[in-house]
């Protein structure tokens, strides 16, 4: 595996091979240089702490949304405390608009698995867990097959490659709860309990799964580990920017001409990504704003995006975050009041009901927004939404309540006049229907013309 040259949106760690019907298999992954990082670690007898050191030196930031340095998270775990340590891959990708882990699980499951094995090696884990979103069918089957292949090839199980290191992986399917993507709720769900987040302290790296030190990492974070180990931290740092090394998988949807999953090198121009790589807005409409990384991140208007690059520092300076990489492009003419209501309906539906401010506040905010959309809004409703959001900020167990507040207040900050108009007039500023075209329709028709009698491109690719 060698670091690829800069092409398109920058260098690519994952999306650097043609996807075929069997490009996800062990043989194909090995053909691309897979499991060399693991072989390197096991054959050279690299110490677990050296693996952590390498990951820390690479400066990789967590790809789940919070951008916490992965190496620092691993470094907290005391390796010689005599307790079992667990590593969990967080594949419960539930942030609205985010579907980049899905691509990784479907197409490079072995890369994710190799990362998990390396992380378990670094943290002296004997058991590792993959908590996969229940709705993910193909990703689950691909990961299940990958684990079976890995066991058969001696990459998992007792005494891996004769190194004395043993690891068993448990693949666990979630049951459809957004909050189970929060690390502590995920562990509670893994334990068979209700998916309720846990209070800190204690931190999960002190008392996590089954009250043992546990590291929970996002799929993409773990998938980066083989690259870091194989190529070395120094080479990894050369990709991306100084503060955000590496690449970011971005799933873009919304009113964009070419939605889908992209791999973007950190530091890439945001506007160039939207207008060139993704083909601009559907129907040539103007961009109104983007939700940069899942609905929990604050929106950025088209003006705010000017000159911003896709990396953590630049996004922070612009007033938002890269988040989970789930980008949603919103075209001019979209009613932000109704958008806020859709977002809030999601948070209301997904609030776990454990702690008071979020349990009650999410429903309250949705009812206020609902009333505005019904045309029965009152001028004081805007202040009420701010009030509920601030009362949720930092007062809840997990960050679901805060996130909902950020999402709604960011829309209010940017488009307050749309709310005032809606409340005053009982109707939206943007009553016209938004003309959107199916971006796939044309290419699908072309494909069918070229493949007479075939069912669909995905079926032909062996996806089902």
């Amino acid at each position: 595996m060698t670091l690829p040259a800069q092409v398109g949106t920058g260098r690519k760690f994952f999306m650097n091979f043609p996807v075929t019907a069997d490009s996800h298999t062990l043989a194909a992954y090995r053909g691309r240089g897979g499991y060399q990082a693991l072989a390197k670690v096991l054959s050279t007898g690299m110490a677990p702490t050296d693996v952590t050191k390498e990951v820390t030196a690479s400066g990789i930031l967590g790809h789940g949304g919070a951008a916490f340095p992965a190496g620092r998270k691993w470094g907290v775990v005391k390796l010689d405390d005599g307790e079992p340590h667990y590593v969990c891959m967080n594949a419960d990708e539930g942030e609205p608009g985010t579907f980049k882990d899905r691509w990784l699980l479907e197409h490079v499951p072995h890369m994710c698995l190799e990362g998990l094995i390396l992380a378990s090696y670094a943290l002296k884990g004997r058991h590792a867990f993959i908590y996969i979103r229940g709705e993910f069918d193909l990703p689950w089957r691909r990961m299940r097959d990958a684990i079976e292949e890995a066991y058969a090839a001696g990459l998992l199980g007792e005494n891996i490659q004769g190194s004395g290191f043993s690891l068993d992986v448990v693949l666990y399917r979630g049951a459809g709860s957004y909050v189970c993507g929060e690390a502590s709720a995920m562990l509670a769900s893994l334990e068979g309990k209700k998916g309720w987040p846990r209070n800190r302290p204690p931190r999960l790296t002190v008392k996590g799964l089954y009250q043992r030190p546990t590291v929970v990492n996002n799929v993409e974070t773990l998938a980066n580990v083989p690259i870091i180990i194989a190529e070395g931290a120094e080479a990894f740092r050369k990709v991306g920017t100084a503060k955000s090394p590496g690449t970011q998988m971005i799933s873009i949807s919304g009113h964009i001409a070419r939605p889908g999953v992209y791999e973007v090198e950190y530091g890439y121009s945001w506007e160039r990504f939207l207008y060139e790589d993704c083909g601009g807005m559907q129907g040539g409409k103007a961009l109104k704003c983007v939700i940069p990384g899942g609905v929990s991140t604050k929106i950025l208007s088209a003006e705010e995006l000017k000159g911003v690059t896709l990396d953590h520092n630049s996004a922070l300076a612009a007033g938002s975050q890269v988040g989970s990489g789930g980008m949603i492009a919103i075209a001019e003419g979209t009613c932000m009041v109704r958008l806020a209501r859709v977002i809030q309906r999601f948070y209301h539906h997904e609030s776990c009901g454990q702690c008071t401010p979020c349990r009650e506040g999410m429903g309250w905010m949705e009812r206020v927004l609902d009333r505005i959309v019904r045309g029965q809004g009152r001028p004081e409703d805007i202040d009420r939404l701010y009030h509920i959001s601030t009362a949720n900020d930092g007062t809840t167990i997990c960050s679901l309540g805060d996130s909902a507040g950020y999402a709604v207040t960011a829309i209010l900050d940017h488009y307050r006049e749309e709310f005032e108009y809606y409340i005053a007039n009982g109707r939206s500023m943007h009553d016209g229907t938004l003309t959107v075209t199916d971006p796939f329709a044309e290419s699908l028709a072309r494909w069918h013309a070229a493949h007479p009698g075939a069912l669909s491109p995905t079926l032909a690719a062996g996806a089902h």
Partner: protein, 494 residues
């Protein structure tokens, strides 16, 4: 006990001391600072879900730090503020959230008057709801078990009840289902709350009126009743309890007079070394034990006679007996036992034998014994009585010419036919009429006294009812019984 490490810190500027490992809310409680809390309970785990116990921690530099006091370990020198303006604002906001979907139906709620939510509303909020939207509706009067009903609208999802069944009563019978503001407390599918012998404790720990006793539902408003400290006689654990009864100032004059004296309900009175804050359901149903039909008049050979006359007859029988055997009650208070010992001190061990009998045996269907509170001996003062007298082996010594049965038990069938018997008891029983002399005694709620529990802890109880004139207090009776003199009848003794 080993010395616990202490940590010095500050609450609201005042120096305070915490034990190592204590949280802010625990240390503050001992320092006399009350941090409001719904979900936290000293005997249960910390869920940190109600968020009302937010406190401020001043930082050396930078912004203060806010977090819940129930999950915040005390660190040396930390400066905690529990009444800062921001903390008060956070509490007000949290109270708004808690009451958002709460029906605020205090007027018809049985918890009204002793409700934490009500108290906190006046103390920490005081504003009407800021919401103008409809409230969520949920199940009313959901039967969690034969004993307890749940009002899901009043529930604030503190999960104290769920944790109680997991951590204390071990029945694991309750759970939280659904998400968000649709979350509900429900019985767990694979457990049975009906068989939880401690289920009624969830009523006490519920900070709102969501969990209520079906037996006591709407019996009496809290402010019409008052409590008297007492000791549960249901078993030798001797749990300390409060017996609730109607206040003298709120007596009914027109209705059934029984309503003025009946036991409205029984709640635990916290005693760490005996029962902590819990009691079992048998104690809740103490009225079934104490309000059984009473023996209200003295009998000689089954015929009612004035009490003094019966006492004279009994004293004469005792004085004439060469080898009387006294079966001492294990329901007698320590004071009564002492009065017996001093009255019969000269004869005891020489011509008179006193042995302790078990008044009550476990009833069918009752939990006989468990690892929590309930013990197999169903008598409250066996240990107190055994400190003075040996246990009865169930036999009657051959030379015995008179048996005195004090308290219940000691059935006629167990005694040799033809042997004269004196019975003294508070309750009506068919054996009473078969005795040569029967003397009616007062019961626990009519007199003060104390019991020694199975671990040797002495707990006292108070009487709140006046005994009937024909009924005797045992401590008044014994001197006259020993001296063969008519008793001095008092309305209230000891």
């Amino acid at each position: 006990m080993s010395e616990r490490k202490t940590i010095d810190f500050f609450i609201n500027g005042e120096p305070a001391v915490a034990y190592d490992g204590e949280t802010v809310i625990q240390a503050a409680r001992r320092a006399g600072v009350d941090i409001p809390h719904f979900c936290w309970h000293p005997e249960l785990s910390v869920p940190g879900n109600c968020r009302i116990c937010m406190v401020e921690v001043e930082q050396e530099k930078g912004d203060p730090w806010f977090d819940i006091g129930c999950n915040m370990p005390v660190t040396a020198g930390m400066r905690v503020l529990t009444e800062s303006e921001t903390v008060k604002k956070l509490r007000r906001d949290t109270m708004q959230f808690i009451t958002l979907n709460h029906p605020v139906d205090c007027g018809i709620c049985s918890k009204s008057g002793e409700c934490t939510l009500q108290d906190y509303h006046y103390e920490h909020n005081g504003r009407p709801s800021l919401s103008i939207d409809r409230k969520n509706h949920a199940t009313k009067f959901y039967p969690l078990s034969d004993r307890i009903m749940l009002d899901n609208e009043r529930c604030i999802m503190c999960t104290r009840c769920v944790r109680f069944t997991h951590e204390v009563s071990q029945s694991k019978a309750l759970a939280a289902v659904h998400r968000g503001d649709q979350a509900l407390i429900r019985p767990a599918e694979d457990a049975n709350f009906n068989t939880d012998a401690y289920s009624d404790n969830v009523i006490d720990i519920c900070p709102v009126g969501a969990l209520l006793s079906r037996k006591d539902l709407s019996n009496a408003r809290v402010w019409y009743t008052e409590s008297t400290p007492s000791v549960c006689p249901g078993c030798a654990r001797g749990c300390t309890i409060d017996i609730w009864h109607r206040k003298a100032s709120w007596k009914f004059t027109a209705l059934d007079p029984q309503l003025n004296t009946r036991i409205e309900r029984v709640t635990p009175r916290e005693t760490p070394e005996v029962n902590g804050p819990w009691i079992c359901n048998k104690a809740r149903d103490l009225s079934a034990l104490l309000e059984r039909p009473r023996a209200m008049e003295a009998l000689v050979a089954g015929r009612p006679v004035p009490t003094p006359e019966a006492v004279v007859q009994a004293a004469a029988l005792l004085a004439g007996a060469q080898r009387p055997l006294v079966l001492v009650s294990s329901w007698a208070s320590n004071e009564e036992l002492a009065a017996f010992q001093s009255a019969f001190g000269e004869r005891l061990g020489r011509s008179l034998t006193a042995v302790v009998k078990a008044d009550h045996q476990p009833q069918p269907g009752e939990v006989e014994e468990d690892a929590i509170l309930i013990v197999a001996d169903k008598n409250p003062n066996t240990r107190g009585a055994m400190a003075l007298f040996p246990a009865w082996d169930g036999t009657i010594p051959p030379a015995t010419d008179l048996v005195v049965v004090w308290g219940e038990g000691g059935m006629a069938a167990a005694l040799p036919a033809g042997l004269p018997v004196i019975r003294m008891s508070g309750y009506a029983a068919s054996d009473n009429a078969e005795a040569a002399v029967f003397l009616p005694l007062s019961i626990q709620i009519e007199r003060d006294g104390s019991y020694t529990n199975i671990d040797g802890v002495v707990n006292s109880f108070r009487g709140y009812l006046t005994k009937a004139p024909a009924v005797l207090h045992a401590i008044d009776l014994f001197p006259s019984l020993a001296a063969a003199q008519p008793p001095v009848l008092t309305g209230r003794a000891s």
